[in-house]
């Protein structure tokens, strides 16, 4: 796979990176080899801990203090980077190779005007003098399509939105016309619509300037959409590399296969996400309306600082139904779920269960209400949602003891079996469990009081896609077995589609669209819903459901 290594623009051969930690030496990157041609965009894809970011830091030689390049060779445009002195390397950074990071707000000096931060780079690489710096910095802001660049020049990072900050970071990276840009998860933490804008901007700028670029991401769909070639990493090693189409059509490595399969995509059913695929669990028969939300409204603050988080929304959930609540950060979906969960009192409006109002009991007193047990929730971050001083058993027993007449002994084991948590793990503390195991504990705890409605608050947002696929399947199975209703809160329409009968799209506290999942996905009527759908990157149409038919009979064992 090295047709003319000499001509490669960036060539990484057998790279190893080690970190010295409390537990000894950790091999974060082990013998990684990849290369990049001029003008090419390379995607490095992997889940957390795969060593994808560390490899690029090694290329830039900006590893943190405890990290060390233990072996291998990095050649950039014919120069052996490891032979350069620190001073020479600093000359190269920013001028020849630049980098864009995730979490853009933190990536900018909080107490320095963004214009000055761009000037620092320009003047460092002698691209500008004192007199021309300001004009050039404004040009750089213009290049990343920031409106009103003269005014933004004087802004501090805290005065800009996340997407805007990322544009500034890109402006800094591109200020000196480097020939290689490394983007490390540049859109993680941004909303999908902002992600789209930032990715388009990066693609346009690198194309128009003839730059090479590396996109590091956990999102296969994103890499497939924007990259010419993809390298898949796992546990510090490259497991597969190649053209995205070919990779998706015929993945060679079992890990790549699983990764591709786990990525939610059009056409795939929930059972198709696991390797090997399973038949998707049946959906329960819909019954009478269980929960009714009537003109719900929530206002925070007083007087001039008032902000309306939720603005007059109404909807129903029937027994056995799964309703998706979709929207970007700040749309009011979390506030809505907190109110339904009776953790927060609405400013006005009503929430009814079985036709009887629940809002007569204030949230502060609801913990002792007999209906507490019938409304439960699975939280976004499983790690954060389990008391660090409780074992899994204690966490699951807590609601049993407080909300039911049952004895925890026996019932805990029953729940563990339901969610597929091995009994041996019950006496472990959260820090001794994996992300997927913690998610199972969270689900078991939510089911402990035999709820009728379960709010799933982005239950998979913090998980890697392969774990997400397993958890989604578990949720579908539980629904089929228990007939419980779900309110599935998410920012990702493609995930919502897998599980939900109906969808509500929220924006700025209001419902902009509501309807059956399939029809909204196929023909959204609201422009905002359409932009949400468009913005989500879609992997190449591979692994069609019919293509995997023969494997269907095998059982999933995770």
């Amino acid at each position: 796979m090295t047709p003319g290594t000499q001509t490669m623009f960036l060539d990484v051969q057998d790279l190893s990176v080690t970190f010295s930690t409390r537990r000894g030496i950790v091999n974060a990157v082990r013998g990684v080899t990849f290369s990049l041609a001029k003008g090419e965009t390379l995607g490095i894809v992997g889940e957390s801990g795969s060593g994808k970011s560390v490899s690029s830091y090694a290329v830039m030689r900006i590893l943190e203090r405890s990290g060390r390049i233990a072996g291998g060779q990095i050649t950039f445009d014919g120069i052996d980077l490891s032979s350069l002195t620190n001073r020479e390397m600093r000359e190269l950074r920013g001028r020849e190779i630049s980098m864009v990071f995730q979490n853009p707000r933190a990536a900018l000096n909080p107490i320095r005007k963004v214009g000055h931060q761009i000037e620092d780079v320009l003047r460092r690489h002698a691209r500008a003098t004192r007199s021309t710096a300001k004009a050039q910095a404004i040009d750089a802001l213009k290049a990343v399509r920031i409106e009103d660049p003269e005014k933004r020049y004087n802004a501090y990072p805290f005065e800009l939105s996340g997407g805007m900050c990322q544009r500034v970071v890109i402006a800094i990276a591109l200020a000196c016309d480097p020939r290689l840009l490394i983007a490390d998860e540049p859109t993680t933490g941004l909303d999908v619509t902002t992600q789209k804008v930032v990715m388009e901007l990066l693609a346009d700028l690198t194309k128009s300037r003839g730059m090479s670029s590396i996109l590091i991401t956990h999102d296969l769909g994103l890499a497939a959409e924007y990259c010419d070639r993809i390298v898949v990493m796992k546990d510090g090693q490259v497991v597969e590399a190649g053209d995205p189409k070919a990779l998706f059509a015929d993945p060679q490595d079992p890990y790549t296969r699983r990764l591709i399969r786990s990525t939610p995509r059009p056409g795939a059913q929930i059972g198709d996400l696991v390797e090997p695929p399973v038949p998707s669990p049946t959906r329960p028969v819909l019954g009478a309306p269980l929960l009714e939300v009537r003109s719900l409204r929530k206002v925070f603050g007083h007087g001039a600082e008032q902000s309306v988080a939720v603005d007059d929304i109404s909807f129903d959930i029937r027994e056995g139904e799964t309703l998706g609540l979709v929207g970007e950060s700040g749309c009011g979906k979390s506030t809505t779920s907190s109110m339904i969960m009776r953790l927060l009192d609405p400013t006005s409006g009503e929430i009814l269960m079985d036709g009887r109002t629940m809002t007569d009991v204030p949230a502060a007193k609801f913990a002792r209400d007999p209906r507490r047990g019938s409304l439960q929730m699975v939280f976004q971050d499983a790690t954060d949602s389990i008391n660090p001083r409780f074992t899994a058993r204690q966490a699951i027993s807590d609601p049993i003891r407080r909300l039911t007449d049952e004895k925890p002994a026996g019932r805990v084991e029953e729940l563990a079996a339901q969610v597929g948590l091995p009994e041996a793990l019950l006496d472990r503390f959260p820090h001794q469990l994996s992300g997927g195991q913690k998610a199972r504990v969270g689900i078991a705890r939510a089911l402990a009081s035999r709820p009728r409605l379960l709010i799933l608050d982005e239950p998979t947002a913090a998980l890697d896609v392969s774990i997400q696929a397993i958890v989604l399947n578990l949720l579908a199975e539980l629904r089929a077995d228990l007939g419980v209703s779900y309110l599935f809160v998410s920012h990702d329409l493609h995930v919502v589609r897998l599980l939900c009968d109906r969808v509500i799209v929220m924006r700025k506290g209001r419902v902009v669209e509501e309807g059956a999942t399939e029809s909204i996905m196929r023909a959204p009527t609201d422009p905002y819903t359409r932009s949400l759908l468009d913005a989500t990157p879609i992997p190449p149409a591979a692994l069609e459901p019919q293509g995997i038919g023969p494997e269907r009979h095998s059982q999933a064992t995770v």
Partner: protein, 290 residues
């Protein structure tokens, strides 16, 4: 609860403690020093070779010797015995003061952090008012106003320690108030008080333990400082601060041991508590290491 979880957790915890002690032998020294101080406080009077109050004009102002390890003072009293015996009083004052301010500070800080609103506003104003004084000066004023007794030294030291606990408790409770596990606890049927007491407070305790240790050293310093300027303990009671104050007059004429040894004891005690605090910080929260 079955014993397995405790075992596995404790083994991990003990490993970690052993690791921290091995990594930083100074922490081990601090633990040893701390144990020594506690022993001396408990058994000091029994260990002292002489009666700390018995004067002997014939042997006044003798430098350290085999008979009198730390020399004798201007009344011929054995400095070593006095230093040993003083440990209990100094430790008692600071333990009492720290315990008092921990209990009150943790309670009001937790309430302020959990409920916010007017409780937070009122306690915040109260704490700010204490902090508006230079703390040692406030302690001086309190003891001067309330009367020059050992109990009042304890109260004054407790008052000036209070803001630290209230602030730590408030901050630690506040960051966990809306944490997922606190929300989950509410959903599991815990009332607010139960969420605070059983779920949030145990998790906020480790940082407070660190604060206790660091404050203990500071409390000893303050109490000794107050007696150094003539507040609280009165002669001829053996107490480190007052011994240094009495010995100070002899330093300019070269009789250094009168002030030096009680000062050294004081320093070692404070040093032990400060190191202990750093060690506890390493054990409980490796991320906060500085």
């Amino acid at each position: 609860m079955s014993p397995t979880p405790i075992d596995s957790r404790q083994r991990g915890f003990l490993d970690h403690v052993v690791y921290v002690l091995g990594e930083n032998p100074i922490t081990a020294i601090a633990f040893a020093l701390f144990a020594l101080i506690v022993c001396v406080a408990l058994f000091g009077p029994a260990l002292a070779p002489y009666d700390p109050m018995e004067s002997n004009a014939a042997r006044a102002l003798e430098p350290p010797s085999a008979d009198h390890w730390f020399g004798t003072d201007n009344l011929g009293r054995d400095v070593f015995s006095r230093v040993l015996v003083a440990t209990r009083l100094d430790l008692m004052i600071s333990v009492a003061a720290v315990a008092l301010s921990f209990v009150i500070g943790a309670a009001i800080g937790s309430a302020a952090g959990y409920w916010g609103g007017w409780i937070d506003a009122v306690t915040g104003r109260f704490v700010d008012t204490i902090m508006a004084f230079p703390l040692f000066v406030l302690a001086m004023g309190i003891v001067a106003a309330m009367g020059n007794t050992v109990e009042n030294i304890i109260y004054a030291t407790a008052i000036i320690n209070l803001p630290f606990y209230a602030r730590v408790a408030r901050a630690e409770v506040r960051i966990r108030r809306d944490a997922g596990f606190a929300q989950a606890a509410r959903l599991s049927g815990n009332t607010d008080l139960q969420v605070l007491a059983f779920h949030i407070f145990p998790n906020a305790l480790p940082p407070m333990m660190v604060q206790i240790s660091l404050n203990m050293g500071w409390a000893i310093l303050n109490a000794a400082g107050l007696s150094f300027i003539g507040l609280g303990v009165r002669p001829p009671t053996a107490e480190w601060g007052i011994m240094v104050a009495e010995g100070a007059n002899f330093v300019v004429s070269g009789e250094w041991w009168l002030a030096f040894f009680p000062g050294l004891a004081l320093m070692c005690a404070v040093f032990a508590f400060n190191l202990l605090g750093d060690g506890l910080r390493d054990i409980f929260d490796p991320r906060q290491r500085t």
